[in-house]
């Protein structure tokens, strides 16, 4: 969704790693995915190599940011899985297509989100064609506001 909003064409299947990471449409996506994989793995030399690649491709600040995001989501996934929270209703409604595309329903913690009523599923299906467009428009509006703010402050 962030790709839609920033105007980038992004292949969400990149979260599965492998070849999809290289074709994600995200700048230096393959290096970032390799870094995330190595950081969660047990191979110290693979992590050294992945870290060096991010540093070379994106620079020191981005390396710190990437490590910080890795730490953040090691936290968030555990909060979600250890408390049995269901998906928030709006998120549940608009991400159905993406979840199916990524096969996320196969994860054990999917059991924490009940399938929902027929009405809810219908609303989700009706919203689906508009979701990507809504995010694109939101991103465009945010970019316009940001440009207006920076012009006003300069």
């Amino acid at each position: 969704m962030s790709g839609e909003a920033t105007g980038q064409a992004v292949d969400v299947r990149a979260v599965w790693g492998g070849a999809a990471a290289g074709a994600s449409g995200v700048r230096h996506g393959a290096a970032l995915v390799a870094f995330a994989e190595a950081a969660l793995g047990a191979d110290a030399s693979a992590l050294d190599k992945a870290r060096a690649e991010v540093l070379a491709a994106l620079g020191p600040e981005a390396l710190v940011d990437s490590a910080a995001v890795i730490g953040n989501f090691q936290r968030m996934v555990r909060i979600a899985d250890s408390t049995g929270i269901p998906l928030d209703t709006p998120l549940d409604l608009v991400t159905g297509e993406m979840r199916r595309e990524l096969g996320l329903e196969a994860f054990g913690s999917a059991a924490n989100t009940p399938p929902g009523s027929a009405t809810k599923r219908l609303i989700g299906r009706l919203l689906q064609p508009f979701t990507r467009r809504i995010f694109r428009h939101l991103g465009a509006i945010q970019r316009l506001l940001r440009r207006r703010d920076s012009r006003a402050s300069s």
Binding site: S2, A5, T6, Q8, A14, V15, W16, G17, S24, V26, R27, G29, L32, F35, A36, E37, A39, L58, G59, P60, E61, A62, L63, V64, D65, S66, A67, A68, V69, I70, G71, N72, F73, Q74, R75, M76, V77, R78, I79, A80, D81, S82, T83, G84, I85, P86, L87, D88, L91, R99, L102, L104, E105, F107, S109, T113, L138, Q142, R143, R146
Partner: protein, 246 residues
């Protein structure tokens, strides 16, 4: 010397990250709502032990975690259900179930102790993960401060479909005003630990430095060296590797 000097880091570390980590270490050492400072530090010690626990390794490799029995390799004197919770949350979070959670409660780990334990585990684990990713040695754990836990249960808790009760933004009591920021809406993952409000405050503090402040979640542009799509790609890959549906 202050903790988190990052003198051995291969690249400079942002000041807001250093500050957030120092705050987290100060809070870790203090008594919480349900555990003493010594017990909170013991929880952190235990989660570090989980990474080399033989039982955790065997369970992770098994088709079903319950298929393997035995004892955890422990580093503390914490009660058995607490040790089981710390090790499983650390090593195999994707296969936690409501049944597992209920068994912990039956064994004596009540919801307040569980949520605070979770708050400590995820706080320390995320800082350790940052260190490991960056190639920095883990920070030694702080010296516990004396004192008793407050045993305070916040008002406004209600069941909302999770394993634990949570507080809706409109039901926050005076003491918790602003717990979720200015927004009238708050995602379940932010409210999940609201049974222990300080765990939510810690989560917000760390998330603002590691990722984005709650107030900026809806903004697609960031003030980081990574753009939002790059951040989400890293986040998505970490979540997928952890098999997290949420």
């Amino acid at each position: 010397m202050q903790p988190f000097s990052y003198a051995d880091a291969p690249v400079p570390v942002r000041e807001d990250l250093t500050d957030a980590h120092r705050r987290a270490w100060q809070n870790l050492a203090r008594p919480g709502n349900w555990w003493t400072g010594a017990e909170r530090v013991a929880i952190a010690d235990e989660l570090r032990a989980a990474s080399s626990c033989q039982l955790c390794r065997e369970r992770k490799a098994a088709l079903k975690p319950n298929a393997v029995s035995g004892s955890h390799d422990t580093a503390s004197e914490l009660p058995d259900p607490a040790i089981e919770a710390i090790h499983r949350i650390t090593s195999d979070p994707a296969r936690l179930t409501r049944t597992w959670f209920d068994e912990l409660a039956t064994a004596g780990l009540d919801d307040g102790h569980y949520v605070e334990l979770l708050g400590v585990v995820v706080c320390v684990l995320s800082i350790d993960a940052f260190h490991r990713a960056l190639g920095v040695v883990l920070e030694p754990l702080p010296r516990p401060e004396p004192g008793e836990p407050s045993r305070r249960r916040p008002e406004g808790l209600a069941p909302e479909g999770a394993w634990l009760p949570m507080i809706r933004p409109e039901r926050l009591g005076e003491a918790e005003r602003g717990l979720y920021g200015r927004s009238a809406m708050s995602a379940n993952v932010i409210r999940a630990m609201s049974l222990v409000p300080d765990a939510v405050r810690e989560l917000r503090s760390l998330s603002a430095a590691h990722y984005l402040a709650i107030e900026n979640m809806q903004r697609m542009e960031t003030n980081r060296a990574l753009d939002r799509a790059q951040m989400e790609l890293v986040a998505g890959r970490v979540s997928a590797l952890n098999e997290c549906f949420y």
